[in-house]
């Protein structure tokens, strides 16, 4: 999952980003001003944008308006010091999906981010089940046939993303775009390494394959039944 934080207070943005990376295994981009933020939001396929309202150059509401005008359906969580009911209603009416006021609680922010992303992939509970695998997206514990495992960050990111899109063919580009942030170096063959690693862990029964390679298109996580 890839998240964009548009926040002019650098330290705050860094803190949020740190927690999201550490605990949610998200790929996080940070933008410190409105103009740059808007450009990033429009050019990358984010799963969630955490948006401050009072930004230099372009205000948060303008970014939101711009996104919605261009039919960008990305989930937007507004994180603002403006705490009046009027501001909240205005933000929600303009198309944000959630509104949090500063000062905020980090746990609450994480829970809301999780819920928003879950909704984006039409999930109602934070548990993803594919065949024998159960992924808890809050604790990041993967259970396979009664055995609990904690995966390396990148492997977890890949498994979660494929599980979110169960039954769909996920292209390599999609995977790269949703798993890596702007500054991380990525090579498409790294994906293959992670896929093979995941296969080793969960998919060692050749008769009951879970991770399918669709030649020329990408990968698909799908239970046989």
């Amino acid at each position: 999952m890839r998240v964009l934080i548009i926040e002019d207070e650098q330290r705050l943005a860094r803190n949020i980003s740190k927690v999201l990376k550490e605990e949610m295994s998200f790929a996080v981009d940070i933008s410190h001003d409105g103009l740059d933020g808007r450009h990033m939001a429009m050019t990358n396929p984010y799963d969630l944008i955490i948006l401050d309202l009072m930004l230099p150059k372009v205000s948060g509401l303008e970014i939101l308006q711009h996104l919605r005008q261009k039919n960008n359906e990305v989930a937007v969580l507004v994180l603002s010091a403006r705490d009046t009911q009027k501001d909240k209603i205005k933000g929600l009416r303009m198309g944000c999906d959630d509104y949090m006021t500063k000062p905020f609680d980090m746990d609450e922010l994480l829970a809301r981010c999780n819920a928003l992303i879950r909704r984006c992939y039409n999930r109602v509970i934070p548990l993803l089940k594919v065949g024998p695998i159960t992924i808890d997206t809050t604790s990041h514990i993967v259970t396979c046939k009664g055995k609990q495992e904690i995966l390396p960050a990148m492997e977890y990111r890949l498994l979660e993303y494929l599980a979110m899109r169960t039954g769909q063919i996920v292209s390599k580009t999609d995977i790269i775009e949703h798993l890596y942030d702007f500054y991380e170096e990525n090579f498409s063959n790294v994906i293959e390494v992670y896929i093979s690693s995941l296969r080793k862990r969960f998919d060692n029964n050749p008769k009951h394959k879970l991770i399918h390679t669709i030649r020329g298109q990408g990968y698909m996580l799908k239970d046989k039944s």
């Binding site: 002019d8 207070e9 705050l12 001003d33 150059k57 010091a81």
Partner: protein
């Protein structure tokens, strides 16, 4: 004391004015009416008298003359009522039998010519019996009268005819006229108002030369009862009319007052509904106020706008203040929460603590600033009134900020220039003044170019004596004689004109996002201005593209 109702006031005023004018008009009208009515009677009397005179002048039978006189005066003789007829000269019945209730009463006599100008109390000349009537008639009334009341007829020289009860001569108003007043000169007449038997009469005394030697006196009275009756009617009419006009006036006053006050009443009703929550709405729309009321309505509207602006400013200030306080709080909280989520290295903990302290310092600074603003707003004079040497003070500040600039990695230097060699002394609070100049220099460092120097010049302005006098007379104490101007100049680019206006606004920053990068909260210049204000000084900013930005602080200097 409860204020008087305008209705009452206006009504009373109106009534008074009306009363005075009505009384004056009525009095004049009443007087005119009386005059004209009496003049009518006078005219009739004179005409009758002239007719009698003419009748007497024609040599005819005295009986006929007597009859003519009777006819002229309205005393129709049903039976012989000739006054000069035997001794029955005074027949009260003849009067009573008249068709007219108040016939003309008269008395005609002659007097010798030598007494024409004299008073009627001249010696009686009973010897003269040359008048036609008495000539022919055997007994002269004068004789009869002289018999009965000689005193009464001392003035009657020769009575020709009379139609009046003269039994009680002294009570008789006719005789009173003759005794009490001067006789009119011959050929003229006088008019009097008298009362006979309780009735008002208009009386005329005519004196005319008669056949050369004598003077004919005709004294005639005609009842003016009807005139007075008419006048009483007239007076009643005037009173009723006056009362109606007064009542109508009061009614009109009441109606007018309520009509005039209606817009005020409606405005008051609208104003009643204004609270601090709906202050920004238009409240006086569609008010049926007349043209004269418009200034009032406009004034109220303007006042509401001003109040609203003040409210908005206050709200904005609170919103800004809370935002400014909340931001560092949010950062500290997020930092601490982030670091606390799992076991970290010592270095990480140290970093988090240092960052938190930095943010706390920012909050502390902000609360300090807010507090000092609030204290300055209380409009108190600086707590300390120290004698300060401005040059020394500025040198210290320059030293401090040069170090600060160095620590921030800026290359700008701060140069202090003095035009006068002698030190300038001022009175004020040292810490506050340091804050004032510090804030300005800090701004210059922040927004000015990093490589160009900041120049500070001190300029002592000594007013000439004449100016001092003018100032002293214009406003005492407020304009000190000597001023010192401290200009802080940097080579920064032009501040946009629209921003220049707001530079002293609290929390104002050119960038709406209140970005932290440049630091500060937007209170620096507000505080600077407030400090200048409590020191009776001013602060102005000019900014031009070519000249850069110039901040001038003017403070009163000690002589």
């Amino acid at each position: 004391m409860k204020p008087w109702s305008l209705k009452k006031k206006l009504s009373i005023l109106y009534c008074l004015v009306l009363l005075v004018s009505l009384i004056t008009l009525s009095a004049v009208a009443y007087n005119n009416m009386e005059q004209s009515l009496l003049r009518n009677i006078d005219r009739t009397l004179k005409a009758t008298a002239e007719a009698i005179e003419a009748a007497l002048n024609t040599p005819i039978n005295p009986t006929i003359a007597q009859k003519q006189i009777e006819a002229l005066t309205g005393n129709t003789p049903t039976n012989s009522t000739l006054t000069n007829n035997t001794n029955a000269n005074l027949k009260p019945k003849s009067i009573r039998h008249h068709k007219k209730k108040h016939p003309v009463k008269y008395r005609i006599w002659l007097e010798p010519v030598q007494q024409q100008t004299a008073q009627p109390n001249i010696q009686p000349t009973q010897t003269e019996t040359k008048v036609q009537i008495s000539e022919q008639q055997k007994p002269s009334i004068t004789k009869d009268l002289s018999h009965t009341k000689p005193a009464a007829i001392t003035f009657t020289n020769q009575l020709l005819a009379t139609n009046i009860k003269e039994t009680k001569e002294y009570q008789n108003p006719f005789l009173k006229i003759i005794t009490n007043t001067t006789a009119p000169p011959p050929g003229t007449e006088n008019y009097y108002n008298i009362t006979i038997n309780g009735y008002p009469y208009r009386t005329m005394w005519l004196r005319k030369p008669y056949k050369g030697q004598k003077i004919l006196n005709i004294l005639m009275a005609r009842s003016s009862k009807y005139s007075y009756h008419e006048m009483a009617e007239y007076l009643r009419l005037l009173l009723i009319m006056g009362a109606i006009i007064m009542l109508g006036g009061i009614l009109v006053t009441f109606l007018m007052t309520s009509l005039l006050l209606k817009p005020i009443r409606l405005t008051a009703k609208r104003l009643q509904q204004i609270t601090h929550q709906n202050l920004d709405q238009e409240h006086l729309e569609g008010l049926p106020a007349c043209q004269e009321m418009q200034p009032f309505v406009t004034a109220v509207r303007n006042m509401l706008t001003r109040l609203d602006n003040a409210m908005q400013q206050q709200k904005q200030f609170i919103a800004d203040a809370s935002h400014e306080l909340r931001t560092p709080l949010t950062i500290v909280k997020s930092t601490l929460q982030t670091i606390n989520r799992k076991q970290r290295s010592v270095a990480e903990y140290q970093q988090a603590i240092n960052e938190s302290l930095e943010d706390l310092a920012r909050m502390e600074q902000l609360t300090e600033n807010l507090l000092s603003l609030a204290r300055l707003d209380e409009n108190k004079n600086p707590h300390k009134n120290q004698q300060l040497q401005l040059n020394k003070l500025l040198k210290e500040i320059v030293k401090l900020y040069t170090q600060k600039a160095k620590s921030l990695g800026k290359k700008s230097t701060i140069i202090l220039q003095q035009k006068q060699t002698e030190p300038v002394h001022i009175t004020g609070d040292e810490t506050k003044l340091k804050q004032l100049f510090g804030n300005i220099i800090d701004n210059a460092l922040k927004y000015g170019p990093t490589d160009k120097p900041i120049q500070i010049t001190i300029n002592k302005i000594i007013n000439t004596n004449t100016d001092t006098n003018i100032n002293a007379t214009k406003n005492k104490n407020t304009t000190p004689n000597n001023l010192v101007e401290i200009c802080i100049h940097d080579e920064g680019g032009q501040i946009p004109p629209q921003a220049l206006k707001h530079l002293f606004d609290r929390f104002y920053r050119e960038d709406a996002s209140r970005c932290r990068k440049t630091g500060g909260s937007g209170l620096g210049l507000s505080i600077a201005r407030e400090i200048a204000r409590v020191h009776n000084g001013t602060i102005t900013i000019t900014s031009e593209k070519t000249n850069g930005t110039n901040v001038c602080v003017t403070l009163p200097a000690n002589p």
